[in-house]
Protein backbone atom coordinates (compact mmCIF):
# COMPACT_ATOMS: atom_id res chain seq x y z
CA UNK A 1 0.00 0.00 0.00
CA UNK A 2 1.25 3.47 -0.79
CA UNK A 3 0.14 6.66 0.78
CA UNK A 4 -0.33 9.69 -1.36
CA UNK A 5 1.33 12.71 0.10
CA UNK A 6 2.02 15.48 -2.29
CA UNK A 7 3.04 18.24 0.08
CA UNK A 8 6.57 19.37 0.44
CA UNK A 9 7.59 20.61 3.85
CA UNK A 10 8.68 24.00 2.58
CA UNK A 11 5.28 25.01 1.31
CA UNK A 12 3.78 27.76 3.44
CA UNK A 13 0.14 27.18 2.58
CA UNK A 14 -1.92 24.51 0.90
CA UNK A 15 -5.49 24.10 -0.17
CA UNK A 16 -7.15 20.97 1.12
CA UNK A 17 -10.87 20.37 0.75
CA UNK A 18 -11.46 24.06 0.07
CA UNK A 19 -9.64 25.05 3.23
CA UNK A 20 -6.46 27.01 3.28
CA UNK A 21 -3.97 25.42 5.62
CA UNK A 22 -0.84 27.13 6.86
CA UNK A 23 2.44 25.33 7.54
CA UNK A 24 3.13 27.34 10.68
CA UNK A 25 1.40 30.02 12.73
CA UNK A 26 2.12 33.62 11.76
CA UNK A 27 3.50 36.10 14.30
CA UNK A 28 0.06 37.70 14.51
CA UNK A 29 -1.58 34.32 15.25
CA UNK A 30 1.08 33.63 17.87
CA UNK A 31 0.32 36.91 19.64
CA UNK A 32 -3.46 36.35 19.47
CA UNK A 33 -3.09 32.81 20.82
CA UNK A 34 -0.81 33.95 23.64
CA UNK A 35 -3.35 36.59 24.62
CA UNK A 36 -6.14 33.98 24.62
CA UNK A 37 -3.95 31.82 26.87
CA UNK A 38 -3.30 34.80 29.14
CA UNK A 39 -7.07 35.27 29.40
CA UNK A 40 -7.33 31.64 30.52
CA UNK A 41 -4.61 32.15 33.14
CA UNK A 42 -6.37 35.27 34.46
CA UNK A 43 -9.64 33.37 34.84
CA UNK A 44 -7.78 30.66 36.67
CA UNK A 45 -6.18 33.18 39.04
CA UNK A 46 -9.52 34.83 39.75
CA UNK A 47 -10.99 31.47 40.71
CA UNK A 48 -8.00 30.45 42.83
CA UNK A 49 -7.27 33.63 44.77
CA UNK A 50 -4.69 31.80 46.91
CA UNK A 51 -2.40 32.30 43.91
CA UNK A 52 -2.13 35.91 45.03
CA UNK A 53 -0.82 35.18 48.54
CA UNK A 54 2.84 35.36 47.63
CA UNK A 55 2.46 38.71 45.90
CA UNK A 56 0.26 40.34 48.55
CA UNK A 57 1.20 39.08 52.00
CA UNK A 58 4.90 38.70 51.34
CA UNK A 59 5.70 42.26 50.17
CA UNK A 60 3.82 43.69 53.15
CA UNK A 61 5.42 41.32 55.63
CA UNK A 62 8.97 41.36 54.28
CA UNK A 63 9.16 45.10 53.84
CA UNK A 64 7.97 45.86 57.35
CA UNK A 65 9.87 42.99 58.94
CA UNK A 66 13.27 43.67 57.35
CA UNK A 67 12.87 47.40 57.93
CA UNK A 68 12.38 46.93 61.66
CA UNK A 69 14.88 44.08 62.10
CA UNK A 70 17.82 45.47 60.11
CA UNK A 71 16.99 49.18 59.98
CA UNK A 72 18.50 50.22 63.28
CA UNK A 73 21.54 47.95 63.06
CA UNK A 74 22.52 48.51 59.47
CA UNK A 75 21.62 52.13 58.82
CA UNK A 76 21.07 53.66 62.22
CA UNK A 77 17.31 54.02 61.80
CA UNK A 78 14.40 52.56 59.89
CA UNK A 79 14.03 55.82 57.96
CA UNK A 80 17.60 55.73 56.72
CA UNK A 81 17.44 52.08 55.80
CA UNK A 82 14.36 52.34 53.56
CA UNK A 83 16.10 53.82 50.48
CA UNK A 84 18.48 50.86 50.61
CA UNK A 85 15.91 48.21 51.46
CA UNK A 86 12.88 49.00 49.30
CA UNK A 87 14.53 48.52 45.89
CA UNK A 88 16.05 45.31 47.27
CA UNK A 89 12.74 43.91 48.47
CA UNK A 90 11.21 44.86 45.12
CA UNK A 91 13.64 42.55 43.36
CA UNK A 92 13.29 39.85 45.99
CA UNK A 93 9.49 39.67 45.77
CA UNK A 94 9.63 39.64 41.99
CA UNK A 95 12.00 36.70 42.13
CA UNK A 96 9.83 34.78 44.60
CA UNK A 97 6.80 35.41 42.42
CA UNK A 98 8.73 33.96 39.46
CA UNK A 99 9.23 30.73 41.28
CA UNK A 100 5.50 30.33 41.71
CA UNK A 101 5.10 30.92 37.97
CA UNK A 102 7.26 27.88 37.23
CA UNK A 103 5.64 25.69 39.86
CA UNK A 104 2.17 26.50 38.66
CA UNK A 105 3.09 25.98 35.05
CA UNK A 106 4.39 22.53 35.86
CA UNK A 107 1.16 21.69 37.69
CA UNK A 108 -0.90 23.03 34.83
CA UNK A 109 1.00 21.02 32.23
CA UNK A 110 0.02 17.77 33.91
CA UNK A 111 -3.65 18.56 33.39
CA UNK A 112 -5.75 17.06 30.65
CA UNK A 113 -6.37 20.34 28.90
CA UNK A 114 -2.71 20.47 27.84
CA UNK A 115 -3.33 17.35 25.74
CA UNK A 116 -5.83 19.38 23.80
CA UNK A 117 -3.49 22.36 23.45
CA UNK A 118 -0.99 20.00 21.87
CA UNK A 119 -3.51 18.76 19.34
CA UNK A 120 -4.56 22.27 18.27
CA UNK A 121 -2.96 24.17 15.39
CA UNK A 122 -1.45 26.80 17.67
CA UNK A 123 2.04 28.19 18.22
CA UNK A 124 3.95 25.95 20.62
CA UNK A 125 4.98 28.96 22.65
CA UNK A 126 1.40 30.16 23.30
CA UNK A 127 0.58 27.81 26.22
CA UNK A 128 3.76 29.05 27.95
CA UNK A 129 3.65 32.71 26.93
CA UNK A 130 0.01 33.11 28.05
CA UNK A 131 0.51 32.39 31.76
CA UNK A 132 3.78 34.35 31.72
CA UNK A 133 1.90 37.34 30.35
CA UNK A 134 -0.85 37.00 32.95
CA UNK A 135 1.75 36.83 35.70
CA UNK A 136 2.84 40.35 34.84
CA UNK A 137 -0.23 41.28 36.87
CA UNK A 138 1.20 39.43 39.86
CA UNK A 139 4.56 41.17 39.60
CA UNK A 140 2.68 44.45 39.25
CA UNK A 141 0.78 43.81 42.46
CA UNK A 142 3.94 42.78 44.30
CA UNK A 143 5.89 45.85 43.17
CA UNK A 144 3.04 48.22 43.95
CA UNK A 145 2.45 46.82 47.43
CA UNK A 146 6.15 46.90 48.29
CA UNK A 147 6.40 50.55 47.31
CA UNK A 148 3.19 51.42 49.17
CA UNK A 149 4.40 49.71 52.33
CA UNK A 150 7.61 51.69 52.02
CA UNK A 151 5.70 54.97 51.66
CA UNK A 152 3.65 54.01 54.70
CA UNK A 153 6.82 53.50 56.73
CA UNK A 154 8.01 56.95 55.71
CA UNK A 155 9.98 56.26 52.52
CA UNK A 156 10.21 59.44 50.42
CA UNK A 157 12.36 58.63 47.36
CA UNK A 158 13.99 61.48 45.46
CA UNK A 159 13.54 59.90 42.05
CA UNK A 160 10.21 61.61 41.51
CA UNK A 161 7.24 60.14 39.71
CA UNK A 162 9.25 59.23 36.65
CA UNK A 163 12.08 57.59 38.56
CA UNK A 164 9.73 55.59 40.80
CA UNK A 165 7.57 54.52 37.87
CA UNK A 166 10.64 53.48 35.93
CA UNK A 167 11.94 51.44 38.89
CA UNK A 168 8.53 49.85 39.31
CA UNK A 169 8.44 48.95 35.59
CA UNK A 170 11.98 47.59 35.70
CA UNK A 171 11.04 45.31 38.62
CA UNK A 172 8.11 43.92 36.64
CA UNK A 173 10.24 43.46 33.54
CA UNK A 174 12.91 41.68 35.58
CA UNK A 175 10.28 39.41 37.16
CA UNK A 176 8.85 38.55 33.77
CA UNK A 177 12.28 37.88 32.26
CA UNK A 178 13.57 35.73 35.10
CA UNK A 179 10.32 33.75 35.13
CA UNK A 180 11.40 32.19 31.81
CA UNK A 181 14.12 30.39 33.76
CA UNK A 182 11.48 28.89 36.00
CA UNK A 183 9.19 28.17 33.04
CA UNK A 184 12.05 26.19 31.51
CA UNK A 185 12.58 24.40 34.82
CA UNK A 186 8.86 23.67 34.79
CA UNK A 187 9.14 21.94 31.43
CA UNK A 188 12.14 19.79 32.37
CA UNK A 189 11.47 18.98 36.04
CA UNK A 190 9.62 15.84 36.92
CA UNK A 191 7.08 17.43 39.25
CA UNK A 192 5.87 20.72 40.64
CA UNK A 193 7.65 19.91 43.92
CA UNK A 194 10.91 19.51 42.04
CA UNK A 195 10.46 22.95 40.49
CA UNK A 196 9.79 24.35 43.93
CA UNK A 197 12.88 22.67 45.40
CA UNK A 198 15.23 23.67 42.60
CA UNK A 199 13.66 27.13 42.58
CA UNK A 200 14.52 27.59 46.27
CA UNK A 201 18.08 26.51 45.64
CA UNK A 202 18.39 29.14 42.92
CA UNK A 203 16.47 31.85 44.69
CA UNK A 204 18.18 31.87 48.08
CA UNK A 205 21.73 32.45 46.88
CA UNK A 206 20.53 34.93 44.28
CA UNK A 207 18.65 37.09 46.78
CA UNK A 208 20.81 36.77 49.89
CA UNK A 209 24.22 36.76 48.19
CA UNK A 210 23.41 40.11 46.68
CA UNK A 211 23.16 43.72 47.68
CA UNK A 212 19.46 43.38 48.56
CA UNK A 213 19.87 43.84 52.31
CA UNK A 214 23.26 45.28 52.92
CA UNK A 215 26.24 46.91 51.28
CA UNK A 216 28.58 44.20 49.94
CA UNK A 217 31.64 46.17 51.09
CA UNK A 218 31.28 44.52 54.48
CA UNK A 219 31.47 41.04 52.89
CA UNK A 220 34.58 38.91 52.30
CA UNK A 221 36.22 39.58 48.97
CA UNK A 222 35.31 36.28 47.26
CA UNK A 223 31.67 36.93 48.10
CA UNK A 224 31.87 40.47 46.76
CA UNK A 225 32.90 39.03 43.43
CA UNK A 226 29.79 36.88 43.28
CA UNK A 227 27.56 39.70 44.44
CA UNK A 228 28.92 41.92 41.69
CA UNK A 229 28.01 39.52 38.88
CA UNK A 230 24.73 38.42 40.45
CA UNK A 231 22.00 39.65 38.07
CA UNK A 232 19.80 40.42 41.06
CA UNK A 233 22.40 42.92 42.28
CA UNK A 234 22.33 44.58 38.87
CA UNK A 235 18.57 44.95 38.97
CA UNK A 236 18.65 46.21 42.56
CA UNK A 237 21.35 48.80 41.82
CA UNK A 238 19.44 49.93 38.73
CA UNK A 239 16.24 50.26 40.80
CA UNK A 240 18.10 52.28 43.45
CA UNK A 241 19.46 54.63 40.82
CA UNK A 242 16.01 55.09 39.32
CA UNK A 243 13.88 55.33 42.41
CA UNK A 244 16.22 57.13 44.78
CA UNK A 245 17.90 59.45 42.31
CA UNK A 246 15.84 59.44 39.11
CA UNK A 247 19.11 58.50 37.45
CA UNK A 248 18.92 56.43 34.26
CA UNK A 249 22.40 55.08 34.85
CA UNK A 250 24.50 52.49 33.07
CA UNK A 251 23.27 49.96 35.65
CA UNK A 252 19.78 50.36 34.23
CA UNK A 253 21.08 49.55 30.77
CA UNK A 254 22.95 46.50 32.05
CA UNK A 255 19.91 45.28 33.98
CA UNK A 256 17.65 45.57 30.94
CA UNK A 257 20.24 43.90 28.72
CA UNK A 258 20.81 41.09 31.24
CA UNK A 259 17.10 40.41 31.53
CA UNK A 260 16.71 40.40 27.75
CA UNK A 261 19.51 37.87 27.43
CA UNK A 262 17.78 35.64 29.97
CA UNK A 263 14.59 35.72 27.86
CA UNK A 264 16.50 35.15 24.63
CA UNK A 265 18.16 32.05 26.11
CA UNK A 266 15.44 30.50 28.24
CA UNK A 267 12.30 31.17 26.19
CA UNK A 268 13.54 29.03 23.25
CA UNK A 269 14.81 26.38 25.69
CA UNK A 270 11.44 26.25 27.43
CA UNK A 271 9.49 26.00 24.17
CA UNK A 272 11.81 23.31 22.89
CA UNK A 273 11.51 21.06 25.92
CA UNK A 274 7.75 21.71 26.11
CA UNK A 275 7.28 20.65 22.48
CA UNK A 276 9.23 17.47 23.12
CA UNK A 277 7.30 16.54 26.20
CA UNK A 278 4.38 14.35 25.23
Amino acid sequence: MTTQSTLLPDRETAEVLDRTLVARPSLRDTVDQSIAMAWRAMKKMRRNPEQFFDVTIQPLLFTAMFAFIFGGGLAGSVQDYLPWLIPGVLAQTALTACMATGTQMREDMDKGVFDRFKSLPIARIAPLAGPMLADVLRYGIAATLTLLTGFLLGYRPDGGVIGVTAGWALTIFAGWSLSWIFAWLGTVARSAQAVQGIGMMIMFPLTFLSNVFTDPETMPEWLQKFVAVNPVSQVVTACRDLINDGNFSAHVGWAVLGCSVVVAVFAPLAVRSYSRKI
Binding site: E15, V16, R40, V113, P121, I278
Partner: protein, 329 residues
Protein backbone atom coordinates in the same frame (compact mmCIF):
# COMPACT_ATOMS: atom_id res chain seq x y z
CA UNK B 1 -0.21 28.05 -3.08
CA UNK B 2 -0.41 24.31 -3.58
CA UNK B 3 -3.70 22.63 -4.16
CA UNK B 4 -3.60 19.16 -2.71
CA UNK B 5 -5.59 17.01 -5.12
CA UNK B 6 -8.80 15.77 -3.55
CA UNK B 7 -8.35 12.26 -2.40
CA UNK B 8 -11.03 9.80 -1.51
CA UNK B 9 -9.02 8.77 1.53
CA UNK B 10 -9.33 10.77 4.73
CA UNK B 11 -6.58 8.67 6.32
CA UNK B 12 -3.99 6.63 4.50
CA UNK B 13 -1.47 4.98 6.79
CA UNK B 14 0.97 2.22 5.95
CA UNK B 15 3.21 0.25 8.25
CA UNK B 16 2.78 2.45 11.33
CA UNK B 17 5.23 1.54 14.08
CA UNK B 18 5.66 2.83 17.60
CA UNK B 19 8.13 1.36 20.04
CA UNK B 20 8.54 2.12 23.73
CA UNK B 21 11.98 0.77 24.51
CA UNK B 22 11.98 -2.81 23.27
CA UNK B 23 8.22 -3.01 23.30
CA UNK B 24 6.44 -2.64 19.97
CA UNK B 25 3.14 -1.00 20.97
CA UNK B 26 2.15 -0.54 17.31
CA UNK B 27 3.77 -3.01 14.99
CA UNK B 28 3.09 -2.23 11.35
CA UNK B 29 -0.53 -1.14 11.09
CA UNK B 30 -2.12 -0.13 7.77
CA UNK B 31 -5.29 1.93 7.83
CA UNK B 32 -7.42 3.43 5.10
CA UNK B 33 -10.33 5.59 6.11
CA UNK B 34 -12.55 6.86 3.32
CA UNK B 35 -14.11 10.30 3.28
CA UNK B 36 -17.50 10.47 4.98
CA UNK B 37 -17.34 7.11 6.69
CA UNK B 38 -17.12 6.10 10.33
CA UNK B 39 -14.19 3.79 10.72
CA UNK B 40 -13.85 1.80 13.91
CA UNK B 41 -10.63 0.47 15.42
CA UNK B 42 -11.60 -2.38 17.68
CA UNK B 43 -9.25 -3.99 20.14
CA UNK B 44 -8.79 -4.93 23.79
CA UNK B 45 -7.12 -2.73 26.36
CA UNK B 46 -3.45 -2.26 25.49
CA UNK B 47 -3.86 -3.24 21.82
CA UNK B 48 -2.31 0.02 20.62
CA UNK B 49 -5.43 1.99 19.67
CA UNK B 50 -4.59 5.19 21.51
CA UNK B 51 -0.98 5.06 20.37
CA UNK B 52 -2.08 4.70 16.73
CA UNK B 53 -4.46 7.64 17.00
CA UNK B 54 -1.84 9.77 18.73
CA UNK B 55 0.66 9.17 15.96
CA UNK B 56 -1.91 10.13 13.33
CA UNK B 57 -2.80 13.26 15.33
CA UNK B 58 0.89 14.33 15.59
CA UNK B 59 0.82 13.87 19.37
CA UNK B 60 3.44 11.12 19.23
CA UNK B 61 6.26 10.85 16.70
CA UNK B 62 6.06 7.82 14.40
CA UNK B 63 8.89 5.33 14.65
CA UNK B 64 8.12 3.79 11.30
CA UNK B 65 5.68 3.84 8.41
CA UNK B 66 3.96 6.61 6.54
CA UNK B 67 0.70 8.41 6.99
CA UNK B 68 -1.22 11.12 5.27
CA UNK B 69 -4.53 12.80 6.05
CA UNK B 70 -6.49 14.15 3.09
CA UNK B 71 -3.24 13.86 1.17
CA UNK B 72 -1.17 15.88 3.68
CA UNK B 73 1.87 14.11 5.06
CA UNK B 74 1.59 13.66 8.83
CA UNK B 75 5.30 13.60 9.55
CA UNK B 76 6.25 16.56 7.41
CA UNK B 77 3.31 18.90 7.96
CA UNK B 78 2.18 18.46 11.55
CA UNK B 79 0.74 21.95 11.81
CA UNK B 80 -1.47 21.36 8.78
CA UNK B 81 -2.64 18.03 10.17
CA UNK B 82 -3.74 19.79 13.36
CA UNK B 83 -5.93 22.04 11.22
CA UNK B 84 -7.65 19.01 9.70
CA UNK B 85 -8.21 16.77 12.72
CA UNK B 86 -10.33 17.30 15.81
CA UNK B 87 -9.14 15.03 18.59
CA UNK B 88 -11.27 13.76 21.45
CA UNK B 89 -8.97 11.79 23.69
CA UNK B 90 -9.71 8.86 25.94
CA UNK B 91 -9.61 11.19 28.95
CA UNK B 92 -11.53 14.45 28.84
CA UNK B 93 -9.16 17.26 27.97
CA UNK B 94 -11.02 20.39 28.96
CA UNK B 95 -10.07 23.04 31.48
CA UNK B 96 -11.32 22.35 34.98
CA UNK B 97 -11.07 25.99 35.97
CA UNK B 98 -13.33 27.26 33.21
CA UNK B 99 -17.05 26.91 32.55
CA UNK B 100 -18.41 24.96 29.59
CA UNK B 101 -18.93 28.12 27.59
CA UNK B 102 -15.52 29.55 28.46
CA UNK B 103 -13.81 26.33 27.41
CA UNK B 104 -15.42 26.33 23.99
CA UNK B 105 -14.84 30.06 23.54
CA UNK B 106 -11.14 29.63 24.35
CA UNK B 107 -10.66 26.76 21.91
CA UNK B 108 -12.48 28.80 19.25
CA UNK B 109 -10.29 31.86 19.86
CA UNK B 110 -7.14 29.75 19.79
CA UNK B 111 -8.14 28.54 16.35
CA UNK B 112 -8.64 31.97 14.92
CA UNK B 113 -12.38 32.57 15.33
CA UNK B 114 -13.37 36.12 16.18
CA UNK B 115 -14.64 36.62 19.72
CA UNK B 116 -18.27 36.97 18.63
CA UNK B 117 -18.07 34.01 16.25
CA UNK B 118 -16.47 31.89 19.00
CA UNK B 119 -19.30 32.88 21.35
CA UNK B 120 -21.96 31.98 18.82
CA UNK B 121 -20.30 28.64 18.02
CA UNK B 122 -19.93 27.85 21.70
CA UNK B 123 -23.58 28.59 22.42
CA UNK B 124 -24.66 26.55 19.41
CA UNK B 125 -22.52 23.55 20.38
CA UNK B 126 -23.67 23.62 24.01
CA UNK B 127 -27.25 23.58 22.76
CA UNK B 128 -26.60 20.73 20.33
CA UNK B 129 -24.88 18.63 22.98
CA UNK B 130 -27.56 19.15 25.59
CA UNK B 131 -25.24 21.22 27.77
CA UNK B 132 -27.09 24.53 27.53
CA UNK B 133 -28.08 24.46 31.19
CA UNK B 134 -24.52 23.83 32.26
CA UNK B 135 -22.99 26.59 30.17
CA UNK B 136 -21.92 28.66 33.16
CA UNK B 137 -20.96 25.79 35.42
CA UNK B 138 -17.33 25.07 36.10
CA UNK B 139 -16.21 21.74 34.64
CA UNK B 140 -15.36 20.42 38.08
CA UNK B 141 -19.13 20.28 38.65
CA UNK B 142 -19.77 18.28 35.44
CA UNK B 143 -20.71 14.59 35.41
CA UNK B 144 -18.59 12.11 33.45
CA UNK B 145 -21.03 12.03 30.56
CA UNK B 146 -21.21 15.83 30.39
CA UNK B 147 -17.43 16.07 30.31
CA UNK B 148 -17.23 13.64 27.44
CA UNK B 149 -19.81 15.56 25.48
CA UNK B 150 -18.10 18.88 26.17
CA UNK B 151 -14.82 17.30 25.10
CA UNK B 152 -16.39 16.21 21.83
CA UNK B 153 -17.93 19.66 21.36
CA UNK B 154 -14.48 21.18 21.92
CA UNK B 155 -13.06 19.14 19.03
CA UNK B 156 -15.77 20.42 16.73
CA UNK B 157 -15.48 24.14 17.28
CA UNK B 158 -13.23 24.63 14.26
CA UNK B 159 -15.43 22.28 12.19
CA UNK B 160 -12.61 19.92 11.27
CA UNK B 161 -13.26 17.55 8.35
CA UNK B 162 -11.90 14.56 10.30
CA UNK B 163 -12.66 13.65 13.90
CA UNK B 164 -10.76 11.19 16.10
CA UNK B 165 -12.71 9.69 18.98
CA UNK B 166 -10.70 7.57 21.38
CA UNK B 167 -13.00 5.22 23.29
CA UNK B 168 -15.83 7.76 23.41
CA UNK B 169 -18.04 5.76 25.77
CA UNK B 170 -15.67 3.77 27.97
CA UNK B 171 -16.72 4.30 31.57
CA UNK B 172 -20.15 5.74 30.76
CA UNK B 173 -23.38 4.22 32.03
CA UNK B 174 -25.64 2.62 29.40
CA UNK B 175 -28.04 5.57 29.10
CA UNK B 176 -25.30 8.17 28.66
CA UNK B 177 -23.64 5.80 26.24
CA UNK B 178 -26.77 5.74 24.08
CA UNK B 179 -26.85 9.54 24.09
CA UNK B 180 -23.23 9.66 23.00
CA UNK B 181 -23.99 7.26 20.15
CA UNK B 182 -26.81 9.53 18.96
CA UNK B 183 -24.49 12.51 19.07
CA UNK B 184 -21.88 10.70 17.00
CA UNK B 185 -24.49 9.62 14.44
CA UNK B 186 -25.60 13.24 14.09
CA UNK B 187 -22.02 14.24 13.35
CA UNK B 188 -21.77 11.76 10.57
CA UNK B 189 -25.02 12.96 9.07
CA UNK B 190 -23.39 16.40 8.97
CA UNK B 191 -20.76 14.95 6.61
CA UNK B 192 -17.83 14.50 9.00
CA UNK B 193 -15.42 11.63 8.70
CA UNK B 194 -14.90 9.83 12.00
CA UNK B 195 -12.14 7.50 13.14
CA UNK B 196 -13.10 5.97 16.46
CA UNK B 197 -11.62 3.34 18.72
CA UNK B 198 -13.52 1.05 21.00
CA UNK B 199 -13.27 -2.09 23.06
CA UNK B 200 -16.88 -3.01 22.39
CA UNK B 201 -18.05 -4.91 19.35
CA UNK B 202 -21.60 -3.63 19.73
CA UNK B 203 -20.35 -0.03 19.75
CA UNK B 204 -18.38 -0.55 16.56
CA UNK B 205 -21.43 -2.33 15.15
CA UNK B 206 -23.73 0.58 16.08
CA UNK B 207 -21.53 3.33 14.71
CA UNK B 208 -18.92 2.16 12.26
CA UNK B 209 -19.27 1.34 8.59
CA UNK B 210 -15.99 -0.55 8.59
CA UNK B 211 -13.90 -1.97 11.39
CA UNK B 212 -10.26 -2.90 11.81
CA UNK B 213 -9.56 -5.34 14.62
CA UNK B 214 -6.19 -4.85 16.27
CA UNK B 215 -4.40 -6.96 18.79
CA UNK B 216 -0.95 -6.42 20.31
CA UNK B 217 -0.15 -3.69 17.83
CA UNK B 218 -1.07 -5.76 14.78
CA UNK B 219 -4.15 -5.58 12.59
CA UNK B 220 -5.73 -9.03 12.70
CA UNK B 221 -8.89 -8.42 10.73
CA UNK B 222 -10.87 -5.86 8.83
CA UNK B 223 -14.34 -5.64 7.38
CA UNK B 224 -17.86 -4.38 7.80
CA UNK B 225 -19.59 -5.18 11.10
CA UNK B 226 -21.69 -7.75 9.23
CA UNK B 227 -18.66 -9.49 7.83
CA UNK B 228 -17.11 -9.69 11.27
CA UNK B 229 -20.28 -10.93 12.87
CA UNK B 230 -20.83 -13.52 10.18
CA UNK B 231 -17.43 -14.87 11.01
CA UNK B 232 -18.56 -15.46 14.59
CA UNK B 233 -22.28 -16.10 14.08
CA UNK B 234 -24.83 -13.55 15.12
CA UNK B 235 -25.03 -14.84 18.69
CA UNK B 236 -23.75 -17.57 20.93
CA UNK B 237 -25.67 -20.21 22.80
CA UNK B 238 -24.09 -20.97 26.14
CA UNK B 239 -25.22 -24.27 27.62
CA UNK B 240 -24.50 -26.05 30.83
CA UNK B 241 -25.68 -29.63 31.33
CA UNK B 242 -27.01 -30.80 34.67
CA UNK B 243 -24.99 -33.98 34.42
CA UNK B 244 -21.44 -33.43 33.10
CA UNK B 245 -21.43 -37.06 31.94
CA UNK B 246 -23.97 -36.13 29.29
CA UNK B 247 -21.76 -33.43 27.76
CA UNK B 248 -20.60 -35.49 24.79
CA UNK B 249 -24.17 -36.55 23.95
CA UNK B 250 -25.38 -32.98 24.22
CA UNK B 251 -22.55 -31.78 21.98
CA UNK B 252 -23.63 -34.33 19.38
CA UNK B 253 -27.18 -32.99 19.48
CA UNK B 254 -26.00 -29.41 19.09
CA UNK B 255 -23.83 -30.45 16.14
CA UNK B 256 -26.75 -32.18 14.48
CA UNK B 257 -29.16 -29.25 14.90
CA UNK B 258 -26.82 -26.38 14.11
CA UNK B 259 -24.43 -28.16 11.79
CA UNK B 260 -21.69 -26.51 13.84
CA UNK B 261 -19.12 -27.85 16.30
CA UNK B 262 -19.75 -26.52 19.85
CA UNK B 263 -16.75 -25.37 21.88
CA UNK B 264 -16.47 -26.99 25.28
CA UNK B 265 -15.87 -24.52 28.10
CA UNK B 266 -13.75 -25.21 31.16
CA UNK B 267 -16.60 -25.64 33.65
CA UNK B 268 -18.07 -29.13 33.85
CA UNK B 269 -20.90 -29.72 31.37
CA UNK B 270 -20.47 -26.31 29.70
CA UNK B 271 -20.29 -25.56 25.98
CA UNK B 272 -20.74 -22.63 23.60
CA UNK B 273 -22.12 -22.80 20.09
CA UNK B 274 -22.33 -20.07 17.44
CA UNK B 275 -25.88 -19.44 16.27
CA UNK B 276 -26.52 -18.24 12.72
CA UNK B 277 -29.76 -16.79 14.10
CA UNK B 278 -30.70 -16.35 17.77
CA UNK B 279 -34.02 -18.14 17.19
CA UNK B 280 -32.22 -21.39 16.45
CA UNK B 281 -31.56 -21.66 20.19
CA UNK B 282 -35.09 -22.95 20.61
CA UNK B 283 -34.43 -25.79 18.14
CA UNK B 284 -31.40 -26.85 20.16
CA UNK B 285 -33.31 -26.81 23.43
CA UNK B 286 -36.20 -28.83 21.99
CA UNK B 287 -33.81 -31.40 20.52
CA UNK B 288 -32.04 -31.74 23.87
CA UNK B 289 -35.34 -32.29 25.66
CA UNK B 290 -36.36 -34.89 23.06
CA UNK B 291 -33.06 -36.71 23.59
CA UNK B 292 -33.74 -36.77 27.34
CA UNK B 293 -30.73 -34.54 28.15
CA UNK B 294 -31.24 -32.12 31.00
CA UNK B 295 -29.76 -28.63 31.07
CA UNK B 296 -28.73 -26.64 34.13
CA UNK B 297 -28.67 -23.29 32.30
CA UNK B 298 -28.94 -21.86 28.80
CA UNK B 299 -28.13 -18.32 27.68
CA UNK B 300 -28.18 -16.64 24.29
CA UNK B 301 -25.52 -13.98 24.01
CA UNK B 302 -24.71 -11.44 21.38
CA UNK B 303 -21.16 -11.86 20.12
CA UNK B 304 -18.54 -10.04 22.13
CA UNK B 305 -15.17 -8.75 21.18
CA UNK B 306 -13.78 -11.86 22.73
CA UNK B 307 -15.64 -14.08 20.30
CA UNK B 308 -14.51 -11.98 17.38
CA UNK B 309 -11.00 -12.56 18.60
CA UNK B 310 -11.66 -16.25 18.96
CA UNK B 311 -12.95 -16.40 15.42
CA UNK B 312 -10.17 -14.33 13.91
CA UNK B 313 -7.10 -15.22 15.92
CA UNK B 314 -8.08 -18.50 17.47
CA UNK B 315 -7.29 -17.20 20.94
CA UNK B 316 -9.19 -15.14 23.42
CA UNK B 317 -8.45 -11.48 24.13
CA UNK B 318 -8.89 -12.16 27.83
CA UNK B 319 -6.43 -15.05 27.89
CA UNK B 320 -3.91 -12.86 26.31
CA UNK B 321 -4.26 -10.09 28.85
CA UNK B 322 -3.90 -12.68 31.59
CA UNK B 323 -0.88 -14.18 29.90
CA UNK B 324 0.70 -10.77 29.57
CA UNK B 325 0.08 -10.02 33.20
CA UNK B 326 1.71 -13.26 34.15
CA UNK B 327 4.74 -12.40 32.07
CA UNK B 328 4.81 -9.03 33.78
CA UNK B 329 4.75 -10.74 37.16
Amino acid sequence: MTRVPDTDLAVAAAGLVKTFGDFRAVDGIDLEVRRGEVFGVLGPNGAGKTTTLKMLATLLPMDGGEASIFGVDVRRNPHMIRQLVGVTGQYASVDENLTGHENLWLFGRLQGLSSSRAKAMAADLLERFGLAEARDKQISAFSGGMRRRLDLAASLISQPPLIFLDEPTTGLDPRTRGQMWDTIRDLVRGGSTVLLTTQYLDEADQLAGRIAVIDRGIKVGEGTPDELKTSVGSSTLQLRMSDPAETADAAAVVRRVLDEEPVLTPEAGGMNAALPDANRAADVLIALRQSGLSIASATVQKPTLDEVFMAITGHSAEDETDAEMEVAR
